[in-house]
């Protein structure tokens, strides 16, 4: 069976976002690319189970997430991201946001519980609806909403606490930006 070029193009169009999600899950560009390749192998081998007209990115994200989960259930040992490529990626926009603030954001994001970070990324960065994100994660819509809400709140909290000492003159500004009302 040859793949319908329209379906193939839908798959290709989803790859950049799929990679970004894989990096956020695995914390490593190398592992993320392995995950993406494995996802595409499976997806294309089982393309008949994809219903044309439904959400191709959500279908691929679901496969990738399940692969990631099962891969790491098998690895009963501590895993570390040695290549640090994700960290590099996250440092690359000092001109837009401010390097210190951006690094602070990255550190705060890394402190979130994985379920919350995943939900926040799916909704806040990948652009999925709460419903699609719930389908990808195999949980209720309310659970996703709650995780996203907790993730945002926790980030705001972390960003308000961390680095206060580093920002003498900016402290008041930062307090406003990060929610205010804290002494």
């Amino acid at each position: 069976m040859k793949l319908d070029p329209a379906i193939r193009d839908q798959v290709l169009a989803a790859v950049p976002s799929l990679r970004a999600f894989a990096i956020s899950l695995s914390g490593s560009v190398d592992r993320a690319d392995d995950l993406v390749q494995e996802t595409l192998l499976r997806a294309l081998a089982h393309i008949d189970s994809f219903e044309p007209g439904t959400n191709m990115p959500a279908w691929l994200f679901t496969i990738l997430r399940n692969l990631f989960r099962s891969e790491y259930r098998k690895r009963r040992r501590e895993v570390e991201d040695g290549d640090g490529r994700y960290a590099e990626t996250l440092k690359s926009h000092p001109e837009q946001i401010g390097r210190v603030e951006f690094n602070e954001f990255r550190a705060a994001l890394a402190k979130l519980p994985p379920d919350q970070r995943e939900a926040l990324i799916l909704v806040g960065a990948s652009g999925f609806s709460y419903e699609a994100a719930a389908s990808i994660c195999g949980c209720a819509v309310g659970t996703i909403k709650s995780r996203v809400n907790r993730a945002r709140t926790r980030l705001a909290d972390l960003l308000a606490i961390d680095g206060v000492d580093d920002f003498g003159p900016d402290r008041a500004t930062r307090a406003v930006l990060t929610g205010g009302g804290r002494s």
Partner: protein, 91 residues
Amino acid sequence: MKWRFFWGPNGRVMTKTVNREAAAQDEDKKVPDDMSRATGQRKGEVRLGREVQARIGQQLRTLYDDVVNEGVPTHIADLVHRLSSQDDGAA
């Protein structure tokens, strides 16, 4: 038991096993407290200001889009084209 993943210092990812119930209890205990500290509001009344949400959203998309903007790596594009032109469609 359940595997959980932790992002350690310097972007390193770590995993360890935790007891699911203990983790759930932990979460229940901690999160509302964090929420109320973050917003100065009672549990169940959590609301972040629009500016905070916008700022978090902007930073999140910036780091995500940085990867998205790299497009499709050549080896992955090749893989998709190769697989999609195979006669039996099997990987």
